[in-house]
């Protein structure tokens, strides 16, 4: 169908869907009026049952921990999938970026920008580590902290150049960390089976709420997820940067 026909069809269909959504949304309880009994129960119990102060982390890594396992693997699949999609194909080759003119070379990064990059990336690494390790105390956790850690790589690239950032992205190490982080979650879950409890049970000592080490397996899971997410996003950075900077069609 022509573009105009498509847009006309879409307008009608979207109007109908808008009515549908309106009916559905209209049946929701008034905004802000109540939350479910399930949520109230968890808000009340999480601190005493799991010795954590961040209930969202307790839900993600304990009460509904199996969901987070699959969520972590969604990320792993996406990273593996993207590296499969962006792999160098048989008619492509890797060439480092070079200046076309023979008597010139690409200027090195300016010292001011370089300094800014060093400062910012160090800061990001620190904040990332803090977010990962304090997930059971304050909002944060493995996913959020892992992304912050990986963004340090992007800052390094922005402040320097491809050659420099490549040194911070050793592919075998990153892939291994990705794999270890993902399988680590499964192995921590198996700990529960070993002591005769259910998979992903919280079988490590719970500690005292408010301390850094509290919540049993929750900080451990935060750690492995943080490793996996950071490594995953660093691999992504590497893959996309390769595509833009380095991979070229093989010249005949």
């Amino acid at each position: 169908m022509s573009r105009r026909a498509r847009l006309a069809f879409f307008t009608v269909a979207a109007a109908a869907l808008a009515v549908t959504l309106g009916v559905g949304l209209g049946g929701l309880p008034s905004f802000g009026s109540q939350i479910s009994a399930y949520a109230r129960m968890l808000n009340g119990l999480a601190q005493s049952q799991r010795h954590v102060t961040d209930v969202v982390s307790a839900i993600s890594f304990d009460y509904r921990g199996i969901d987070t396992l699959f969520e972590e693997f969604i990320l792993l699949s996406a990273v593996a999938g993207i590296s499969v999609l962006l792999r160098p194909l048989s008619d492509e080759t890797r060439e480092l970026p070079a200046d076309k003119a023979p008597d010139r070379s690409i200027p090195p990064p300016s010292p001011a920008v370089w300094l800014l990059a060093v400062f910012l990336s160090s800061l990001l690494v620190l904040i990332g580590i803090e977010t990962v390790t304090h997930g059971q105390l304050t909002p944060g956790g493995g996913f959020q902290g892992g992304v912050i850690l990986a963004s340090a790589i992007y800052v390094v690239y922005l402040g320097t150049n491809y050659v420099t950032v490549e040194r911070f992205q050793p592919a075998p190490l990153l892939e291994a960390s990705d794999g270890v982080g993902a399988s680590g979650y499964v192995f921590i879950g198996l700990l529960g089976l070993l002591v005769g409890a259910s998979f992903l049970s919280n079988v490590v000592g719970l500690g005292v709420a408010g301390n850094l080490i509290s919540g049993g397996t929750i900080p451990l899971l935060n750690l492995v997820v943080g490793v996996e997410v950071a490594a995953g996003f660093a691999i992504l950075a590497s893959e996309f940067l390769d595509q833009t900077a380095v991979i070229r069609t093989r010249r005949r």
């Binding site: 959504l21 792993l76 999938g81 075998p172 794999g179 998979f199 992903l200």
Partner: protein, 627 residues
């Protein structure tokens, strides 16, 4: 205690295996990667088979992280393992193993990450089939989807697979969003994410606008995955250009998971609603099923690109499964589940056979392959046998499923359904048989007046020494020469034959229909399920008395004759499609269905428009049916 450890093992094993394969792929030699992947897939299959046997009497409930329900409120996430779900999970494992064996020594430029993606796909499918939590169902849905998107675009050097992957990703992602909104609505109303608990909360209530919309969004989102009209436009694009072993997984398992979710959510959550009419919901689902079956069959006949043709054949059969499910009776579900298993094995064998053709003859175009099937006799037999099994050749297990499905339709007062099903099956199998006749026997016109359907761009499949890109230097001759020198490796020939043999073996197993009937009855019993999950004690009717299975339908003369008649008719269709005298008939049919073919334009904007229209339509139909 050991039986209950099998349940988490069935997902822990493939997940851990996949993570280690992905993480350490550079350290492992090629043979180790293949071997580990196949071993993990086989182990998972074994575990799910054990679960299928162990849960035959009543569902096994497993609570993760040790959180058992308190006061009828579910706190954690549970798996509710039943024989129906476990058998689907076993099918997934079996097909994944077959696909990985087929991949032996190929698909290596991805260095083991391809294998990891297949294993994660498998783990997601197992979770999907076993879970008792609605949000976990969504997460598994997305996990299967993400791995599938990546696997579809594997041949990234060709625009066909890339476009197929994009269409697939955009439409199914919107389907996932629709499901999530439905989940949100149900949570807002019932305060729970547990299927049993939501079902309990909705039992006996009259559905208002919110519940109807939640039903439409949930069902519509899952129907996108199941490629039911009008959500189906992405399927031929994706299945027609994905690598062959991946198509095995898609056609055999992934689309069926969408239908599984529809009936699961219906049975556990919505079936207890008061008011409305079961007959009207049945009419909606049956209507969609019939439409899908017919459109799939017609489009399959019009295809000259083999994988795209098989994609439409798959879609047509999905319509038939939806008919079985849409009858909303345990007998219908029994028939549909046996069909899913039997057809899944046959479709996989067909795709693997076409893969051999692609590997050896460098083409999947029916017209370009005309007469070039010589030397590939085993593959020819595989494809012909697969098509006949899809046409319900007795005594394969599909014919048992077909017989039960027809019985269920009769019991529901819809005897004409048998004719509809027969026509679509005959047409879709006839298309495959026509292709086989053209390729192996050289039948059909030399200059085909049937327009070649734009299959100029054969998605090359990665194999030893073959280019994975559509470079300009790849000529037809070069492809032919390199192909005919090589023998077909055993790892490509044996898996499809093995799958067909399993289909035959299952069909010959006595008592299979009874087991399937019990499984379906367990699946459909909402009250007993809720009691088992939430631990409340309420009476339930003993399962066995629920449905009556005809004594041995496959052996009944009438059933066998009908099935053989279908097979014969399919062969006739293949003949008519090739004989010169029927040229005018074919031209008239081509013109008559031209509008339908033009609708399948492969443009993602149009596909999304149809999706939006479909969701709105489903909501309107749901309002009519549930209110």
């Amino acid at each position: 205690m050991s039986a209950s450890a099998v349940i988490p093992a069935s997902i822990a094993v493939p997940l851990a295996g996949a993570a280690l394969l992905a993480g350490f792929n550079r350290l492992l030699p090629r043979w180790a990667r293949d071997l580990i992947a196949i071993a993990v897939a086989l182990a998972t299959t074994t575990l799910t088979l054990i679960l299928m046997a162990a849960s035959a009497g009543r569902p096994m409930i497993y609570w993760f992280s040790g959180w058992r329900p308190s006061a009828g409120m579910a706190v954690g996430i549970d798996y509710a393992v039943g024989p129906l779900g476990a058998s689907m999970a076993s099918l997934a494992g079996l097909l994944a193993s077959a696909a990985l064996v087929y991949c032996w020594r190929y698909f290596d430029s991805a260095r083991g990450r391809h294998h990891a993606l297949v294993l994660i796909f498998l783990a997601g499918s197992v979770d999907f089939c076993l879970t008792g939590d609605l949000f976990n169902l969504f997460v598994a849905f997305e996990l299967v989807a993400v791995t599938a998107f990546a696997l579809t675009g594997y041949n990234a050097g060709y625009p066909g697979p890339l476009q197929g992957a994009i269409n697939f990703a955009v439409t199914n992602s919107l389907g996932g969003m629709s499901v999530l909104m439905g989940v949100g609505f149900l949570y807002a109303r019932t305060g729970s994410l547990n299927l049993a608990q939501i079902g309990q909360a909705l039992t006996g209530r009259h559905p208002d606008g919110l519940i109807v919309v939640a039903f439409a969004l949930l069902t519509g989102g899952f129907l996108v995955k199941a490629a039911v009209v009008p959500f189906h436009f992405w399927l031929p694009d994706a299945y027609g250009s994905a690598p062959t072993p991946v198509c095995v997984l898609f056609a055999g398992v992934m689309s069926e998971l969408g239908l599984f979710a529809v009936i699961r959510v219906w049975d556990t959550v919505f079936s207890g609603l008061a008011g409305g009419s079961g007959l009207r919901i049945r009419a909606v689902l049956l209507g969609l099923g019939i439409l899908t079956a017919v459109v799939g069959a017609v489009m399959a006949l019009a295809q000259l690109q083999l994988k795209r043709m098989l994609a439409f054949v798959t879609m047509s059969h999905l319509g038939i499964y939806l008919i079985g499910i849409g009858l909303l009776t345990p007998l219908g579900l029994t028939g549909a589940s046996l069909l899913v298993i039997g057809d899944g094995l046959a479709k996989s064998a067909l795709f693997l056979g076409v893969g051999v053709l692609q590997h050896q003859r460098a083409s999947v175009s029916e017209t370009k392959l005309r007469g070039r099937g010589r030397g590939l006799a085993v593959t020819g037999i595989t494809i012909v046998l697969g098509a006949l099994v899809l046409a319900d050749l007795p005594p394969f297990v599909s014919s048992a499923g077909h017989a039960l499905l027809v019985d269920a339709a009769d019991q529901a007062g819809l005897p004409w359904m048998e004719i509809v099903i027969a026509l679509s099956v005959i047409a879709s199998s006839g298309a495959v048989l026509r292709a086989a006749a053209r390729i192996w026997l050289g039948w059909g016109d030399t200059e085909s007046s049937d327009a070649d359907t734009g299959a100029a761009d054969d998605p090359g499949e990665e194999a030893e020494g073959r280019s994975d890109t559509a470079g300009p230097e790849r000529t037809q001759d070069q492809g032919e020469r390199s192909g005919q020198q090589r023998r077909v490796p055993l790892t490509m020939v044996l898996p499809p034959l093995a799958l067909l043999a399993i289909g035959l073996g299952l069909g010959l197993t006595s008592g299979l229909e009874e087991h399937a009937a019990v499984a379906a009855a367990t699946f459909s019993d909402r009250a007993a399920y809720a009691a088992a999950v939430l631990g409340t004690h309420s009476g339930s009717i003993p399962i066995g008395a629920r449905i009556v299975v005809p004594a041995s339908p496959a052996a009944s003369a009438g059933g066998v004759l009908t099935d053989l008649g279908q097979v014969l008719a399919a062969l006739c269709v293949a003949g008519i499609a090739l004989v010169r005298r029927a040229l005018r008939l074919r031209r008239i049919l081509a013109v008559g269905t031209g509008w339908l073919r033009r609708l399948h334009s492969g443009l993602v904007g149009e596909q999304v428009t149809w999706l939006v229209a479909g969701l709105a339509l489903l909501a309107a139909l749901g309002e009519w049916a549930l209110h």
